[in-house]
């Protein structure tokens, strides 16, 4: 009995939607825009986070030693760092090596370095994390290493990291606020569409109740209408996301080399299902609010 009643209610919900095409279409499109933007923000956020991780993974620290430090002292210090931090690849860069590197980097202009003594360059220790480190870990490590004897400065691209983190925080906040706002609007639109439908069919509802329909029986087709609108909106949003993934992102990655490290999560079936389920839930919530208010009266 449950199945044929459920099937009948579903059929009724579809017929009701079909009878009011314009309001239903507006609700479905609003829902699809809200879900598309919400899902888009989440994907962009995940991309920005992966970009940050990619850049964080490339991070390295350089310890600059005092001019008075000898190569032997530098080697001892490097050994000490290596022992204390097995997670780091530690390399002492002696002054002569540093000068050779500089010559290589300067290529045709390397002759300008003729006559410069290696002692003019500082002794440095280069540290590369073997595993990915967060910016917080990197900052903590830099603070710890800066307290070592003979270390006069620690370079790790602090300003760059600060900016990236600030950007990520702003993205997170803006994404959350925009998603909440858009979803709130979608719930309101669905609630209002269903409320209008309920209002238009108030005589019908009265008759249904007079012949013995329970509140749940009267409510069910409206709730199903909300769910159907939500699911339809989610499917349109999915189509939009699919286009973005297939067309826009590959073009952006080809055009902007710095985005190469960014990996937006793939469109996994579980994520697609979650989006459709979420759309249905938003539609259900909107219609529930509309019908509950009407039936309370």
């Amino acid at each position: 009995m449950i199945f044929h009643v459920a099937w009948r209610l579903l059929r009724r919900a579809v017929i009701n939607l079909w009878r009011t095409p314009l309001p239903s279409l507006v609700a479905v499109l609003t829902m699809s825009i809200a879900l598309f933007l919400g899902a888009g923000f989440l994907a962009a956020l995940s991309g920005a986070r992966s970009l940050l991780h990619a850049w964080g993974a490339e991070a390295s620290l350089t310890l600059y030693l005092a001019n008075s430090a000898t190569d032997a002292q530098g080697a001892l210090l490097a050994e000490r760092v290596r022992a204390g931090h097995p997670e780091l690849t530690v390399q002492l860069v002696e002054r002569t090596v540093a000068l050779d590197r500089l010559r290589t980097d300067m290529r045709d202009l390397s002759s300008a370095l003729d006559g410069i003594s290696p002692s003019a360059l500082p002794l440095t220790i280069e540290l590369t994390p073997q595993a990915q480190m967060t910016s917080t870990e990197l900052r903590k490590l830099a603070a710890e290493l800066s307290r070592l004897p003979d270390v006069v400065d620690v370079e790790y691209g602090r300003e760059w990291l600060d900016k990236l983190e600030e950007l990520a925080r702003a993205l997170r906040a803006a994404g959350a606020a925009a998603t909440a706002l858009i979803l709130g609007a979608a719930i309101l639109v669905v609630a209002n569409t269903i409320r209008l439908a309920v209002y238009a069919r108030r005589d019908e509802i009265e008759i249904m109740k007079l012949v013995g329909a329970t509140d749940s029986y009267v409510r069910m087709p409206f709730l199903l209408e909300g769910v159907l609108q939500g699911v339809a909106g989610a499917l349109i949003a999915l189509a939009g996301l699919f286009l973005v993934y297939r067309v826009l992102i590959p073009r952006a990655q080809a055009a902007f080399a710095f985005t190469a490290g960014a990996a937006i999560g793939p469109l996994l079936p579980s994520r697609l299902f979650a989006l459709v389920a979420f759309g249905g839930a938003v539609g259900l919530l909107g219609s529930w609010l509309a019908v509950a208010r009407f039936l309370r009266k």
Partner: protein, 219 residues
């Protein structure tokens, strides 16, 4: 089957629509409810199917005190009562067949059962050929017959009819009344509100007369 104890109904400061009404209608009885317009006939019927609540007094329908029914109990009570409304109250976007079948639909009957029983009732009221039509395409008399078919489709224990023959010509009146009498013969308790005295003369049954909300006679 139906008992009223000192029932009053008043709207605001207006004179009471029903005033200290007490009566009893037994199981399987047929009762005419008559009186001039504004006598309180429709209000009384509405209270019997919980569309109105009395201001004071008690109403028992099928042994259940309607004022003490929980919210979920009202639809259950209504499922045992067939009602023919004065204004028909048909669902405008549903076909005649769907309108008649709706009383079975809320009971959870299967599509096949709904169709079979609704068609049978439409056959009895002479509207089988219009099963797929929408109510707005029917005449007033035809809509009244659809309303009667819907009220009787689930063989209710009680049938309440508010001026069920008001829109019918004399020949149809008798055939519709025959349906109502037939339901009564099968054990349904019937209360018919009418102000058609010719009808009361032609079919003499227990007659309750109201005027100004008061019980004038019960013979």
């Amino acid at each position: 089957m139906i008992q009223l104890f000192h029932v009053c109904k008043a709207y605001g400061d207006e004179p009471p629509t029903l005033d200290d009404l007490s009566l009893e209608i037994g199981k399987g009885e047929f009762v005419w409810l008559t009186g001039p317009s504004g006598a309180g006939k429709t209000t009384l019927l509405k209270m019997l199917f919980c569309a109105e609540v009395p201001t004071s007094g008690q109403i028992l329908v099928g042994g259940r005190n309607v004022q003490r029914l929980a919210a979920a109990g009202v639809p259950m009570l209504r499922r045992s009562i067939g009602v023919v409304f004065q204004d028909f109250k048909l669902l405008p976007h549903r076909t005649v067949l769907e309108n008649v079948g709706y009383a079975l639909e809320v009971l959870g009957a299967s599509d096949r059962e709904i169709e079979e029983r609704a068609i049978r009732r439409l056959d009895q009221v002479g509207l089988r050929a219009k099963a797929r039509a929408l109510p707005k395409t029917l005449s007033g008399g035809e809509q009244q017959r659809v309303a009667i078919a819907r009220a009787l489709v689930n063989d209710p224990a009680i049938l309440l009819a508010d001026e069920p023959t008001g829109n019918l010509d004399p020949s149809l009146t008798d055939s519709i009344l025959a349906l109502i009498f037939d339901a009564n013969a099968r054990g349904t308790t019937v209360v018919v509100a009418t102000h058609d005295h010719a009808l009361l003369q032609r079919h003499q049954r227990r007659t309750i007369t109201l005027a100004g909300g008061k019980l004038i006679s019960d013979v």
